[in-house]
């Protein structure tokens, strides 16, 4: 598909980096965007249907599987599925116990949800880049749509909306627990009284404010950047296909190698997001840090 006459490399990449956006276009009215430019013109009041669909599908998968196991949970000898779930929960709980010193029943489930959900969303990256978008394009063409203008991105974490969504929820929790645990005064003191004492208040506020705001940004952008770059490399590798046998074989090998390496990255990114969330929330619970 990559080297078909109607698509240039640039268009191919552009195609893969455009979400299936549903919204109200100022000229064309309500409907799906037919190009990335149109999607941008829709402004804020548009929704990325593909991101929503796959993220909720994967989140539901996680919830469904874990709920099914949790219902039949036994303290006796565990079965296969229970063993698997226990392994993950134990791993998450160990991390929470290691990094989180206060008591909060929210942190464990939060960390588990982040780890499992982010991992599943990242995992979509291992599905060959063209497979599902191509099938979806063909399917939509049955309904009269032009397959070249049917966009689909199956990896929700390559959409900053998804990563910032999670990061902002975590940031909201950090703020909530900072206020709750330290009080407004305590939190304000923490932001203004250190590291330079009370005469350096503006500098303190600047430094602490940056460090506070960098939390959601670093969470969201790290995950987004890693997944976006990984996806981009898959797309670039996919561009090799179709022109000659040598390039096909090279592309196949590269794709395999990159996919193997990517298994590490997707797990690691899910893990980092989880651990940083735990650490940030721990800092929010600490009186002094």
């Amino acid at each position: 598909m990559a080297a078909s006459e109607t698509l240039t490399s640039q268009a191919y990449i552009q195609h893969h980096l455009t979400n299936l956006t549903l919204g109200v276009h100022p000229e064309h009215g309500f409907g799906f965007a037919h190009s990335s430019a149109e999607a941008a013109e829709m402004g804020f009041w548009a929704i990325n249907v593909d991101t929503m669909f796959f993220s909720i599908l994967l989140g539901y998968l996680f919830i469904w599987f874990f709920r099914r196991v949790a219902e039949q949970m036994t303290a006796g000898v565990p079965g296969g599925a229970q063993n698997f779930v226990e392994w993950i929960v134990d791993f998450v709980e160990e991390n929470v116990r290691g990094s989180f010193t206060a008591k909060n029943p929210l942190v464990g489930p939060l960390a588990l949800t982040i780890f499992a959900w982010v991992f599943l969303m990242n995992l979509m990256d291992l599905i060959p880049v063209d497979l599902i978008p191509h099938l979806f394009g063909q399917l939509m063409s049955l309904f009269g749509a032009d397959p070249h203008h049917v966009f689909l991105r199956i990896v929700p974490t390559t959409d900053p909306n998804a990563t910032f969504g999670m990061a902002l929820v975590v940031f909201g929790l950090v703020l909530y627990y900072s206020f709750k645990m330290k009080g407004v005064g305590g939190f304000a003191r923490e932001l203004t009284m250190q590291p330079f004492g009370k005469w350096g208040m503006p500098a303190n506020l600047l430094l602490e404010g940056i460090s506070l705001l960098s939390k959601p940004l670093s969470l969201a952008l790290r995950l987004f950047g890693n997944m976006y770059a990984g996806e981009m490399i898959f797309i670039l590798i996919a561009l090799l296909y179709g022109s000659s046998m040598v390039l096909n074989i090279t592309g196949g090998m590269l794709q395999f190698v990159w996919a193997v390496f990517h298994i590490l990255i997707i797990t690691l990114q899910a893990f980092i997001f989880m651990v940083l969330t735990i650490v940030y929330l721990d800092m929010a619970h600490q009186e002094h840090h």
């Binding site: 980096l17 455009t18 979400n19 956006t21 919204g23 990335s36 999607a39 941008a40 829709m42 402004g43 804020f44 009041w45 548009a46 929704i47 990325n48 991101t51 929503m52 993220s55 909720i56 989140g59 996680f62 919830i63 874990f66 709920r67 196991v69 949790a70 219902e71 949970m73 036994t74 303290a75 006796g76 779930v85 226990e86 929960v89 134990d90 709980e93 029943p105 929210l106 464990g108 489930p109 939060l110 588990l112 949800t113 959900w117 929700p156 959409d159 900053p160 909306n161 998804a162 910032f164 969504g165 999670m166 902002l168 929820v169």
Partner: protein
């Protein structure tokens, strides 16, 4: 690639997933894990107790066996002593009994000897008288000579 309403939709979805996980997934799993942990700890403690009790029992058994062995040796020694005593007693009994039997036999022999002697004496006296009668071929007054004959017989 644009920030749009998806951001808020994702936040809501995320919050819902976390809420569901917190309410329906995390508690049963963690409870079961803690329960199993407690069970295992209990089992290990029980095994440890069992080991200790076994060691104690073994020790107690050893003491008992030692005591029993000592008692048995005691009993055997006593029995041996008793046996020798019985043998000694029996020997003494037999000795005294044999002495008695021998004495009785001796007395009997003495009695018989005396009786035989008396009888012999009488017979000899009669025989001597008869012989004297025959030799002398004449009647002898037994009564007149009895004293003589008896004194004669007594010398036998």
């Amino acid at each position: 690639m644009n920030i749009n309403l998806t951001l808020f939709a994702q936040m809501i979805a995320f919050a819902v997933f976390v809420g569901f996980c917190m309410k329906f997934i995390w508690p049963p799993i963690v409870t079961a894990l803690a329960e199993r942990k407690a069970k295992i700890a209990e089992g290990l403690a029980a095994a440890e107790r069992g080991h200790q009790e076994k060691a104690l029992g073994e020790q107690r058994a050893l003491v008992l066996i030692k005591d029993a062995k000592a008692a048995a040796a005691d009993i055997v020694a006593q029995a041996q002593k008793r046996a020798t005593e019985i043998v000694e007693e029996a020997k003494a009994d037999a000795r005294s009994e044999s002495g008695r039997v021998v004495a009785a036999a001796q007395a009997e022999i003495d009695r018989e000897t005396n009786r035989a002697r008396e009888e012999l004496r009488e017979r000899v006296a009669t025989l001597a008288v008869a012989a004297a009668e025959k030799i002398l071929q004449k009647e002898i007054d037994i009564k007149a000579h009895k004293g003589l004959v008896e004194s004669f017989a007594k010398q036998l």
